[in-house]
Point group: C2
Amino acid sequence: MAVSLPPAPSHVARLRERVEHVLATFLREREGLLVDISPRLEPAAGALRDFVLGGGKRLRPAFCYWGWRGAGGVDGEEIVVAATALELLQASALIHDDYMDGSDTRRGLPSVHRRFEAMHAEQGWNGSPAAFGAAAAILLGDLCLSFSDEMFCGCGLPAERVRAAKPLFDVMRAEVMAGQYLDVVEQAVGGGSVERARTVIRFKAAKYTVERPLHIGAALAGAPPQLLAAYSAYGLPLGEAFQLRDDVLGVFGDPAETGKPAGDDLREGKRTVLVAMALERADARQRACLRDLLGEPLLDPAGVDELRSVIVATGALDRVEELIERGTADALAALDAAPIRDTRARTALADLAVAATTRRL
Amino acid sequence: MAVSLPPAPSHVARLRERVEHVLATFLREREGLLVDISPRLEPAAGALRDFVLGGGKRLRPAFCYWGWRGAGGVDGEEIVVAATALELLQASALIHDDYMDGSDTRRGLPSVHRRFEAMHAEQGWNGSPAAFGAAAAILLGDLCLSFSDEMFCGCGLPAERVRAAKPLFDVMRAEVMAGQYLDVVEQAVGGGSVERARTVIRFKAAKYTVERPLHIGAALAGAPPQLLAAYSAYGLPLGEAFQLRDDVLGVFGDPAETGKPAGDDLREGKRTVLVAMALERADARQRACLRDLLGEPLLDPAGVDELRSVIVATGALDRVEELIERGTADALAALDAAPIRDTRARTALADLAVAATTRRL
């Protein structure tokens, strides 16, 4: 797996700095509101700040911002605020997902439910530390979800423009939550097909991470339907390629880079496209190995290696790498054909396509 | 405890019918969106429909609607839609609360997490039924939370008016989530004072159920700050009285009326104002009884009766009934002094004050 990892282009880094600044300012203000209600909310405000500002690729704000620029919108603080709202939605989804998946860490730090579980245990409070951690994570995720549309609606762009884009924001949220639910159902049902796994990532990732952020930026700028269609032609294959790269990194990635223990996705038994392809192509012996070891919570490094070997030997890894390559190429071809005049937007979207599928951002 | 239970006034019943209609129409449309994504989302859409349309007092939409009317707003479909959005927020809070509290039932039916837990078990799916139920409840609560601001922003009132009211909607959400978090912390810390319990219900109930819905209705109608202040003077004591009534019903209520098993709040060990007052006034023997039995998951009917007797004997019940009476009287006095011209709004708000504190709606 020789993935070239180019450094992030400077415009990606510059926008990311602006997004960080908007997030930090917003959270500082909200922290004041929370602590005014009660000083006992300080740990909650602190956990939110650490989680939201603790890293992240800020891909969704980037697609939203460049979707706006590609539609002829001019640079300004308001569009950066509107785009940053997507990052609060993502924070909410991650806080809730980590709890649902039982993940102990996120970006190398304890996940939110584990952080509050530890606080409860340290303080020697009444009741179950795990139940306390769960409640805190659910409520902080809810708060982030509320903050997200608060930031979006309050971005400062004209009310009529926000109103025109809000239905796309709403559809995006419903799609990602529906995609998550389908994902949970697929894990429970087990033995899902490649086709089913691709439906999950279409809603959970392709639309949510790339297509809808572009659409929202375009709608805020008052773009015509043709541009939205062009953004779909670029965004859907790219978004799928992005998620497939994520799946590959979940199995083969370096823990220093992913922030998660090696083989965590295998231990969780995630039914990704990569895994579905391996199951589809496996011979009897390989299938038995996959069935036995996938989702085994105590999977050791030798077991992780064994599963990796099977995934490589079935040809599933090569096939997924092909799909990533083709998706990226399709996205770039669609970008070439898109009615975008601004050459900077064009360059940025091309750079983002490469960055999102090689994952060095 | 002789509580008089007058029938709901006809305007309360009429508005409730309109709220039900808005909810049913909205959910039918969203169900189409979900099932288009995948037929596997049918159970999720069905659970949402059953939960949201399965009853509820619709108090928050009523306060929002009459807050609008009291500010001189004229009746129309748009304000009913905006007000109904509060009910979707409440549905989200209940779905998540039921999971966090481990409640098995809601309005006499299985809670959402139990419903999906049972579905998982019936289908014999992989993994833990409880974890599946938790994930489904978290995601459906998230969806309801998104639907809430979707309905509010899309209510059809002029964009500038919605923009003026949205910050109050945002503050209300932050307050109720902060109040829930504080509640969870108070249960964990234990032995909370009456004062602390009153802070929790201020945010979790008084502001969320009465004051903010009134403010939102008023802001949508473009009301001046004096009216918002008058609504606070009416709404805060009334909202506290409402929650105190809820606490009394949680201990002494008829299961047929509350939809929850008798003594459920005692079994959960909820640190309500009623309980805090009993603890504060208890002698050594009574305190030992409260400490031993409160929060005992297997509390039997004899234990429930014993706790009830102690709460009565300490004088806590009488004191809480006094507080309810005084809160209601303060609210009605503030209403008399409020700058409201519309006599129908005045009558409705007076009726709601009685209905919310006697709880036959």
